[in-house]
Amino acid sequence: MRLVDEFRDAEAVAGLREAIARRLSRPAKIMEVCGTHTMAIARAGVRQLLPPTVSLISGPGCPVCVTAQGEIDAFLALGECPGVVLASFGDMLRVPGSTGSLETLKARGTETRVVYSPMDAVRLAAASPEKEVVFFGIGFETTVPTVAAALLEACRLGLRNFSVLSAHKRVPPALAALATDPELAVDGFLLPGHVSVILGLEPYRFLAEQHQIPCAIAGFEVTDILEGILHLVTQIADGRAALANQYPRVVRPEGNPTARALMERVFTPTDAVWRGIGPIAASGLALRPEFAPWDARQKFALDWDRFANVPEPPACRCGDILKGIASPHDCPLFGRGCTPARPIGPCMVSSEGTCAAYYRYQIG
C-alpha cells in the first residue's frame, strides 16, 4: 500500500524508539486524545516500544464512545415512527443507550441500515421514496463535513424523506475542558491527525500558548505515532510547550477550508453531553434553522431536552480515568455491571478504551 507501508518501516521504528528513550529521564504521561490512535497503538504494540518513563493515557476516545446515552435513546425512539429506516455507521450498532442498542432494536424488527458513507444513506432515501431515512450524525470534525456534504446533496436532490439526527462532537472544546481542569495529570497531548486535516493548527495553539501543554499532531502509522511522541518527549525534556505537526503530508496549517465552510454552512455549535464525562459547553453541533426540514429533531418534534437530560450512569469513572487521576479498578462497575459485551462508559465501549484494555488483558 503506497503512502502506508513506507510508514511501517521496522528500522525506522527501532531508531525512533532509541531516540525517545535517550530523550527523557523523568517520567512523563502523554495522553493520546484520539480513539483511532488508541487502536493503532494497541495494534502495533507501541507501549512496548516506549521506555518505562513514558506512559500513554487514552483520552476522550472516539466519537462513538462519547455519544451520550440520551442521544442514542433519541435515535432509537425515532425507530418507532412508521416507515422510518435508521441509518448509522457500523460502529454505533452495539453501543447501548439507557434501554437498548440499535442492535437490539433491529433484532426486534426496526428497519436499520449500516452505512459506510453518509452518502449511502442519501442514496437509500433516493431509492426508497416510501421510506423515511434518518441518519445518525456521529463523529468529530473529520466526519462532520462528509455529513454536511451529504445533507446538502439531499437538499439539492429535493429529498424530503432524508434527515439527520446530529450527535456530532467538537474536539477543541473538549481539549479546552481538559486543559483547564486543575486535576489533569498529563504532560503532553498527542493530537488527532485526521481531525486536524480539517481544522488545521489554529484551534490547538491555545493548549501550548495559554496552558503550556506540549502538543504534537500525529498520523496513525506506527512511525507517525512514535515521531509524534518523540516531539512530545523532546518538548517535555526541554521544558517548553509548542505545537508540533508530525503529519504535514495531510495536515496543512490552514486545514481544509472548503470542508470547514460546508460544515459551518450546515451546522452550528451547541452544548452537548459526553458519555461518562458530562456536559461541555459548545462541544456539540446542531443543524442550522434553515435546514429544519432535514433536521430529525425538528421533523419528528423530538423532545430534545428530555433526551439531553437522560442521566449518565453515576458510578462510571471514565471522566477521571481519562484525566489520568483514576484507574478502572476505582470504578465499582468495572467487570461487574460493565464489561466489553455490556459496556457502560466510553472507556469500555471502545474496544481499546482504558477499561476494555484492563478487562481484556487483566491489568492490575
Partner: protein, 334 residues
C-alpha cells in the same frame, strides 16, 4: 419470469415437477433418482465422520461464489478438518416464495458442480417453500458423511508446544467480499470469495500421520476465532507472526478502510494446520504443490502458555493479544 410458488412445496404435482426439472438432472445422483425415503449405502471401513451446517448468506449470489457452492464447501471442509475423506452429502432447501426459478437453477447447478469438484455425492435432499417474508430468499442445510483414513487423528485438542501453525493461503477474502457486496459499499472489483472444497488439500497432509495434529477451517470469526478455539482446547498459547500471514492487497486495503482486522474475517476456502515441527517443511511443500495451497505459509507456532492465549508478534518485535471477535464485522469509521 417464473418464480417459486408456495405450491411448489405442497407435495403435489408442482413439487414433483420442481424436483424432476431443477434438482435431479443437476445432481446426477442414483440415490436421489431412486426417490426412496432414505439413501442406502455400505459404509467404508474405518471411523465415520458426520457433520451438518446451515447456510444463510446475503447476497445469495456473491463475487466468487453463491450459496450453493458455499453449502457444499462448508460441510465438505468441516469433514476435511476432521481428517475425513468426504463421501456423501444431504441438502435441504428452504425457499422463500417468489425466488426466481432461474436463480434457484443457477444455485443448484453450482451446488452440483461443487459436489463433483469435491468428489462427493448428494444422496438425500428436501425442499420446503415458505411464504414471502418468512425466509430470506433461500436457506440451505447440508449434512455430510466421510471416513477417516487409518493413521489420521486430528483434533483441536492435539496442539502441543513447539508445533508449527500453517495457513493454506491468503486470509479474509470471503468475509470482505460478502461485506462489500452486502452493504453496497461502493467497492469495484477485485474482492472475491475464496469459497472452495478443501478435502483434496487436507488429504495431501494425511501422509504426515501422527505429525498432523490439528486441522481447522477458519470460517466465521476468521483465524482469530479458530486459533482461540485451538489454544483453549489444547491448553496452549499460539503466537502468530503478523508479516508471515498472507493477505491479498485489496483485502488489506478494504480492511483498513472499514476498520476490520483481516484475522477476524471469515474464510470459506482456507485451512489452518498445526503440525509437529519436524513435519512443517513437508506440510508446507505438500500444500504449495496444490492449486488451492500456492500461497500457503507458516504463520506461527504453539507455545507452552498462558493456556488459551493467542498473540500476534508484529514486525516491530511487539506483541498484542488476538481475541475472538465479539460478533459480526461491520464497516466502521473510527
Amino acid at each position: 419470469m417464473s418464480v417459486v410458488l408456495l405450491a411448489h412445496g405442497g407435495g403435489g404435482r408442482l413439487m414433483a415437477d420442481l424436483i424432476r426439472e431443477v434438482f435431479l438432472p443437476r445432481l446426477e445422483s442414483p440415490e436421489l433418482a431412486r426417490a426412496d425415503d432414505s439413501a442406502l449405502f455400505t459404509p467404508p471401513p474405518g471411523r465415520l465422520a458426520f457433520t451438518t451446517d446451515a447456510f444463510v448468506v446475503d447476497p445469495i449470489l456473491f463475487p466468487g461464489g453463491d450459496i450453493g457452492r458455499l453449502a457444499v464447501c462448508g460441510t465438505v471442509n468441516d469433514l476435511a478438518a476432521g481428517g475425513a475423506v468426504p463421501l456423501y452429502l444431504s441438502a435441504a432447501f428452504v425457499i422463500e416464495e417468489g425466488l426466481p426459478l432461474e436463480v434457484l437453477s443457477t444455485i443448484v447447478d453450482s451446488l452440483a458442480a461443487t459436489a463433483r469438484e469435491a468428489g462427493v455425492r448428494v444422496v438425500a435432499g428436501d425442499t420446503k417453500v415458505v411464504p414471502h417474508g418468512k425466509a430470506d430468499q433461500l436457506f440451505i442445510t447440508t449434512a455430510g458423511v466421510g471416513c477417516v483414513p487409518e493413521g489420521v487423528s486430528v483434533s483441536g485438542h492435539h496442539a502441543r508446544p513447539g508445533d508449527v501453525v500453517l495457513c493454506s493461503g491468503a486470509l479474509g477474502d470471503h468475509g470482505m467480499a460478502i461485506m462489500v457486496a452486502r452493504e453496497n459499499l461502493g467497492f469495484v472489483g477485485h474482492l472475491e470469495s475464496d469459497v472452495a472444497p478443501l478435502n483434496d488439500l487436507t488429504a495431501a497432509l494425511h501422509s504426515l500421520g501422527p505429525d498432523l495434529h490439528v486441522l481447522r477451517d477458519p470460517t466465521r470469526g476468521g483465524a482469530a476465532a479458530a486459533l482461540n478455539e485451538i489454544a483453549a482446547q489444547s491448553g496452549v498459547a499460539i503466537q502468530l507472526h503478523e508479516e508471515a500471514v498472507p493477505i491479498h492487497a485489496p483485502v488489506r486495503v478494504a480492511c483498513e478502510l472499514l476498520g476490520t482486522d483481516p484475522l477476524t474475517v471469515a474464510n470459506e476456502g482456507k485451512m489452518l494446520a498445526v503440525v509437529a515441527p519436524e513435519a512443517a517443511d513437508a506440510a508446507l511443500a505438500a500444500w504449495r504443490d496444490h492449486p488451492l495451497g500456492r500461497e500457503a505459509a507458516v504463520i506461527g507456532e504453539v507455545l507452552e502458555g498462558p493456556a488459551g492465549r493467542v498473540q500476534v508478534r508484529t514486525a516491530f518485535g511487539t506483541t498484542r493479544i488476538l481475541d475472538r471477535p465479539l460478533g459480526e464485522q461491520l464497516p466502521r469509521i473510527c
